[in-house]
Every structure is written in C-alpha cells, then in structure tokens.
C-alpha cells in the first residue's frame, strides 16, 4: 500500500545513494511509488471516474484530469490502429472502425512503448467481433495490412552477396540454406485479399469478384518500398519450406512432390528480384 511511505523515516538525500541501507529503504519507498502508479494506470486504462485520493488539481476535480489521461490513452491507441490498418478503416468506414477500435482496445492493452507495435491481434479480433463478421474477408485483409506495417519498419539488411554465392560449387547447391529478409511475410486467404488490398491503393480498381477464390499474398520490401503481390501455391509452399529451415535440396524435393510442375528457376529469380534473399549458409537439413 502506498501508505507505507508515511511509515518510513524521512530519509535525507544520501550523496552516494547506493549503500545497502539506502537500497533497502528505497525499496519500501519504491513499493509506495509502484502502488500509486499502478492504481493511477488502472484508472486511466479503465477510463472510469475513480476516487484516487493521491492526485489533485487546485483548479478542477481530479476526475477531469483523469479523463484527459484516459482519453489520451485510448485516442493514441485508436490512432495507432488507424495508422496500421488504413484499408480496414476504408472498408468499414470511420464510424464502424472507431467502434471496432474501442472494442479491441478494451481487450488488448499496449505492451510496447512504441505505438508502431500496437495492434498485431486485430485480425484475430475481427474473426470474433460480431458486427465485423458480416464482412468475412476483414480478418485476412487485416493480417495482410499488419504484415505491410511490420515490413515497413523492419530492420535494413544487406542483400545476398552473389560473389560469395558464386564460390559455392554446384554439387553443394542442395545444401544451401537461404536467409530471408525480415520484411518478408506470407499471408494466405480463401478470399482475394491482394485484389482487395490493391483496390485501396492509388489507381486501384474495385472490380473484384469475391467468388474468384483465395489468394496468397507475399509482402516484401525493397529499399523503402513495401510490395504486395500474389504468389502461387507452389511458390508459397517452397518459400515456407525455406523459411522454416529446409535447405534448397529438401525444399525443392518436397515442393515437387506436391506440385510436380513447380519451376524452381523462375521462383528463385522472382524472389531475388523482390529482394527477399539476404544471406546463405551451407549444411544438411537436420
């Protein structure tokens, strides 16, 4: 309890500040700090007037101050969601999006000091949100948007060093493990999510037939630009195998078993042209 602090002898400011006694002493005081701030944050997150006895203003009621913090908390998270999910917001409109955001925020607090990390679970949330279920493609479009958002902020990585690759002898090719850029994501859907997403980009077209079947989206980044494109099931199957740690030989054999017409050469070149490869190592698939 924060009343602990009043039980402590009022410590004078020690210059060194780190002796054992002082640490012990300030531990009690830290508990007091912790308890007050935990109660304060609870009031902000819940957004309800509460009778916190330890905060005040001489000019207005503590509830007004708390409400400013509470609105700021929710407003910042809502803006972060709108920033990460511009297509979802356009699809459902601002009013519905605000309602979605409120529901989401009440279930998902923030756990990062950067707002760019907030909102990862919106796709899963939309699968269970009753009003949103009228639009069954929303969860997958949200997952695609989240992948774009993460790709945009992914760390820069040098592209594959071809000179180094050229040193590998051909009989070792099967043992190459390719490393994939951190901005690379695959999102698979029973809906045409790439077409849905592209419709909302400049010069996008809304001639979309939802019955046209599913699409697999590949998200990648070249320099500063995030690309979204549809890839085929065999390309996706092979890339997943590579991402999950299969060497080129194993990934290719297993893909050919499922997709006999799989074209490794085109696939490898396509992904290279998208800047997906960053490095490689040699070895057997374990």
């Amino acid at each position: 309890m924060y009343s602990d602090s009043s039980l402590e002898p009022n410590q004078s400011l020690p210059l060194q500040g780190r002796g054992n006694v002082v640490v012990l002493n300030s531990k009690f005081k830290m508990n007091a700090l912790h308890d007050e701030l935990a109660e304060f944050s609870h009031a902000i997150i819940k957004g309800v007037p509460s009778s916190l006895g330890f905060v005040a203003s001489p000019h207005y009621s503590a509830d007004i101050g708390l409400e400013v913090y509470s609105n700021n908390y929710r407003g910042n998270l809502q803006d972060a969601l709108a920033g990460a999910y511009p297509v979802i917001e356009q699809l459902v409109g601002a009013d519905f999006f605000r309602q979605l955001a409120r529901g989401f925020i009440s279930l998902h607090g923030s756990c990062s000091a950067s707002l760019f990390d907030y909102g990862a679970e919106l796709g899963d949330f939309l699968e269970h949100d009753e009003p949103a279920r009228a639009l069954p493609y929303l969860p997958d479009v949200a997952k695609l948007e989240w992948a774009c958002h993460r790709a945009y902020f992914a760390t820069d990585v040098e592209p594959l060093n071809l000179a180094r690759l050229s040193q590998v002898s051909a009989d070792e090719y099967a043992n190459i493990f390719l490393k994939v850029h951190p901005a690379c994501y695959i999102v698979r859907s029973p809906f045409p999510i790439v077409a849905l997403w592209q419709a909302h980009q400049p010069q996008g077209s809304f001639e979309i037939n939802l019955a046209s079947g599913g699409e697999i989206a590949l998200i990648s980044r070249q320099r500063d630009v995030v690309n979204v494109r549809e890839i085929t099931p065999d390309e996706a199957y092979w890339l997943r195998a590579v991402i999950h740690g299969k060497n080129l030989g194993m990934a290719t054999v297993s893909t050919l078993e499922t997709f006999p017409t799989f074209d490794l050469q085109n696939t490898l070149l396509l992904f290279a042209s998208l800047g997906i490869w960053t490095d490689f190592t040699l070895g057997e698939t374990s």
Binding site: Y2, S5, N10, Q11, L13, L15, G17, R18, S26, F28, K29, M30, A32, L33, H34, E36, L37, A38, F40, S41, I44, I45, G53, F54, V55, A56, S57, P58, H59, Y60, A62, I64, G65, L66, V68, Y69, Y73, N76, A80, G109, S110, C111, S112, A113, S114, L115, F116, Y118, A151, Y152, F153, A154, T155, D156, V157, A183, R221, R223, D224, V225
Partner: protein
C-alpha cells in the same frame, strides 16, 4: 560526466520535423536552425530511418524520446534502450532527450507521458536509470520537465528541485519546455519563479515551445496551436534568467504548412536575439 554532444545544436530556433514536411524539407532545404525528431518513430529500418539520415546530411538533429519511461516502476526496457543506442550510432544526433515521466507498470504500457510523485525514493530511482541510460548511450541525456493534468499529493519536492537534484547526481542536462511549465502553472498552481530559480542554468541545453488546448478549465498539452502570448512572455522571462539556448517549435496535431512553422520559429529567434542584445 559525458560530453554534451558529438555535434552541436546552433543556438537558434528549430522545428519539430514531422512526416507531412519530409518531402518539402528535403526538396527545398529551407533555412532551419535545426530539427528535432521523435526517436521511437525511427526505430528499425526502411523509409523512416533513411529519411532521417537524409535530413541529417543538411541539418543538426536532436532526438527526442517519448517512450523510455525514466520514472516507470517496471525495470527499464533494455531493448528500447538498445534501439535508441543503435539509432544514435547511425544518426549521430546533436542532442538526445527524454521526458521526466513514466509509462509502464506491471507490464501494462500507457503510451503517454505520465506524472509521478516527486519523492526522494523516486529521485533515487530516476537518477539510477539516467545513470544507466547515459552509460549505455555514452553521452549526456537532456531530461524534459513534464506538462501535467494532476499532481501527486505525496510529492516531497517541486519538479524544479527534482530536476536540479537529477542534474547534480547524474550530470544530465535539462530540456526546459516553457509551455509545459505554463501548463503546470495554470493547472496545478506551480510557482513559475520558483521553478526557474531551481533550474541550474548551466544544465539547460534546449527549450521547447508549443500551443495547448483548454478543456473544462484544464490546459491540455496538445501541440496543435501557435504559441500563445502568455507562453511567449514566460519564454522571455526564462531567456532573461537562464539565457538563450536552441529553441524548438513543437507542432504535432493539425500540423500547419511549413512556412507557418518557420514563422513561429522566427518569433523565437527574434526573442533570443533581443535577449542577447540586452
């Protein structure tokens, strides 16, 4: 003790650089004293970082953090600090600053700048964290006074005294936000003269100026208006007592056209120069 900076901010007025102005600033290279950017928006790679590095080629940059939570009860987030360190290594900013606030308790993050009681225990806690941040960054940190909507009755000293003691214990500097002081004077009855007297002038490395909104009698630090006359008057008083320092116009909501921001910066510049003449 750490050197204040690897490069220096000119003692002139700068602006907070926000996304709507990137293209214009890089395309026209307007005459700006310096710019400040929010550190967290450039963690990672890609377009944001590349843009900031392009800006850095033409202007001195100050990195202003909003997420370190120097006073949070939870342990300092070392990943966050490592990301800031990495950013400093590539950007080589003239200044690095954080707010005197907290944002995390029991793993819950509130993405805002929250007040705390200015107690002796909090002072020891914040000082040890500033020590650690400065050691990791290998440089001095400027710590900014906070705008608050509530104060804690358990405080044992004023914010000015708290900051002065942080400077004495850690060698950190102070980012003196004049508008934040004004907001606290109006909201919480803070004594502006006591605050100005408490602040060690030698430690002040930067000023901030911005506009606020009023709601139910509470001044809210919205950074979405021009600087009000009362804040200009307080700035002039601060200049007389502490002296001119690099001064920033912050504008984060309803961001105006670049010339409007630059005109605000000019007003600060004129006041700085008038102060030097006197």
């Amino acid at each position: 003790m750490y050197p204040p900076a690897t490069s220096v901010l000119p003692c002139s007025a700068g602006i907070g650089l926000r996304a709507p102005h990137y293209r214009e600033v890089l395309g026209t290279l307007p005459k700006l004293g310096w710019v400040e950017a929010h550190s967290e928006n450039f963690f990672g790679g890609g377009a944001p970082l590349h843009t900031l590095l392009a800006v850095r080629q033409h202007y001195a940059v100050s990195l202003h953090g909003v997420g370190m939570g120097l006073a949070s009860p939870d342990p300092l987030n070392e990943d966050h600090l490592a990301a800031l360190k990495q950013l400093c290594d590539v950007v080589q900013p003239a200044r690095v600053s954080e707010h005197l606030c907290w944002n995390t308790v029991n793993g819950d993050v509130i993405n805002d700048l929250l007040p705390f009681p200015h107690t002796h225990a909090a002072l020891a806690h914040v000082a040890s964290r500033i020590d650690h941040v400065q050691a990791v960054l290998g440089r001095q940190l400027l710590v900014e006074n906070l705008s608050s909507y509530l104060s804690f009755t358990s405080s044992e000293m004023s914010e000015g005294e708290f900051l002065a003691e942080l400077v004495r214990r850690t060698g950190c500097g102070i980012l003196f936000d004049v508008e934040n002081l004004y907001v606290n004077v109006r909201n919480l009855g803070v004594d502006e003269d006591e605050f100005i007297r408490a602040i060690p002038a030698h430690a002040v490395g930067e000023y901030h100026l911005a506009g606020f909104s009023v709601r139910d009698g509470c001044l809210v630090d919205t950074h979405d208006h021009p600087v009000y006359d009362a804040v200009w008057t307080l700035y002039e008083k601060v200049l007389r007592h502490i002296g001119p320092r690099p001064t920033l116009i912050e504008w984060d909501g309803n961001i105006p056209a670049l010339p409007v921001l630059m005109a605000e910066a000019d007003k600060a510049q004129q006041r700085m120069e008038a102060c030097c003449v006197l």
